[in-house]
């Protein structure tokens, strides 16, 4: 079994219009590297110029913000669900 990443609607066009993408187990960092390896256009949307996850992006592992776990070193296990959520409401 594998874990899955839920892709926000604004990024789905970069992953062949999929709502979720299945990924192998590993750290969050490995999982994201794998995701970008497969869908290169995501690089500029997920990472800043310094190669860090962009500051407005929150990553949730099973509904928990990874900043409050081991951040990018947090282990992703089979069956886990990762969400990529911008920290803004996007409205006015």
């Amino acid at each position: 079994m594998t874990a899955k990443i839920e892709i926000p609607s604004a990024l789905q066009k970069f992953v062949n219009d999929q709502k979720t993408v299945e990924v192998e187990e590993g750290t969050v960092k490995n999982v994201f590297n794998g995701l970008i390896g497969k869908y290169g256009e995501l690089q500029n949307h997920l990472y800043d110029e310094q190669g860090q996850i962009r500051s407005f992006i929150n990553i949730y592992l099973n509904d928990e913000d990874i900043r409050y776990a081991q951040n990018l070193d947090t282990e992703v296990k089979s069956g886990d669900v990762i969400q990529i959520v911008p920290s803004i409401a996007g409205g006015f």
């Binding site: 962009r54 500051s55 407005f56 996007g90 409205g91």
Partner: protein
């Protein structure tokens, strides 16, 4: 010499502050001489409105017109989709006038905003953050469709009084504050109300005034309050043909200018102000003899929990 007491006795009601809505509009225009020393760049500091954002203007116009036309009367609840500033404006004005308010907004809105809205007594319905503001719009439409007799659906995205408020106040203020010298108007897009309203007024004063709209550079962005039109539900009030030039700003550039504004100008501005400044500086640099005016929609207090501040505090 007149005494203070005598002066106060003869002052009109407006000066005495008979209602919070009397404080809306007539915000300062500030010269940004440190972040843009090479040109004449000015920003309208919209957080000087009592609800602390430019959204006080459309909210007041929308509610005034609804009362005048009879669409809004006692017993109805004001309903809309908003992630913050317009909601704060509705909640503030409705607290003053005695109307209940129900607001739909993405659950990712900052905790500080939620507290402000609750302080004014608004009821909040939180929607899926992955859908951004579009999820909130769809929820508000659903609530209204289910019980139209219960609500006045303000619909800031489609209500003509949104842009008219800027046509009748923001635009004329900018023109008067620059003594008609404005050459370029730069504004970020949210509902499109500020750009469309103030832009139309300014263009009517002189066809030579250049109108520049600013959007996020991509659908996935961190620019609170701004809309990437190509990938969003386009607000009906937004006039896509109005702009002489369209500019796109990357989130990190806006964040950088928010930090710079605080450290170098002493202005703690909101995120969309940073985006406006990124674009306006480029326009100003290209037109050193011009007078470039932009709008800073709100202040930065609500955004201090954003992570871009982590390394700058």
């Amino acid at each position: 010499m007149k005494s203070t007491a005598a002066k106060a006795k003869t002052a009109p009601d407006r000066d005495l502050g008979s209602s919070v809505t009397d404080l809306i509009g007539n915000t300062p225009l500030l010269r940004l001489s440190r972040v843009c020393p090479q040109a004449n760049l000015y920003a309208k500091a919209e957080w000087y409105n009592p609800g602390q954002s430019c959204k006080d203007r459309p909210a007041l116009y929308i509610l005034n017109e609804a009362e005048r036309s009879g669409q809004l009367k006692k017993g109805l609840t004001v309903l809309d989709a908003t992630s913050g500033n317009t909601g704060i404006a509705y909640a503030m004005i409705c607290a003053d006038r005695g109307y209940p308010v129900t607001l739909c907004m993405p659950a990712s809105v900052t905790p500080a905003r939620i507290k402000v809205l609750k302080a004014y007594g608004a009821e909040l319905i939180l929607t899926d953050p992955i859908l951004f503001s579009d999820g909130a719009i769809l929820k508000a439409r659903e609530l209204y469709a289910a019980a139209p007799e219960k609500y006045f659906y303000a619909d800031q995205y489609g209500n003509e009084n949104n842009w008219i408020s800027h046509y009748e106040t923001t635009g004329p203020e900018i023109y008067a504050q620059t003594a008609g010298r404005i050459t370029h108007f730069v504004a970020t897009l949210g509902t499109g109300g500020t750009f469309t309203g103030a832009g139309r007024f300014l263009k009517e004063q002189s066809k030579d005034i250049q109108l520049i709209e600013v959007q996020p550079d991509a659908a996935f962005h961190g620019l609170e309050g701004m809309k990437h039109m190509e990938s969003s539900i386009v607000p009906p009030i937004y006039d896509a043909r109005l702009a002489d030039r369209k500019m796109a700003v990357r989130t990190e550039a806006a964040y950088r200018w928010v930090v710079e504004l605080a450290k170098r100008e002493g202005l703690l501005a909101g995120i969309s102000s940073g985006a406006a400044l990124e674009a306006a500086r480029i326009v100003a640099a290209e037109n050193p003899q011009g007078t470039v005016v932009t709008v800073f929609p709100d202040n930065g207090l609500k955004y201090l929990s954003e992570h871009f501040w982590d390394d700058n505090l």
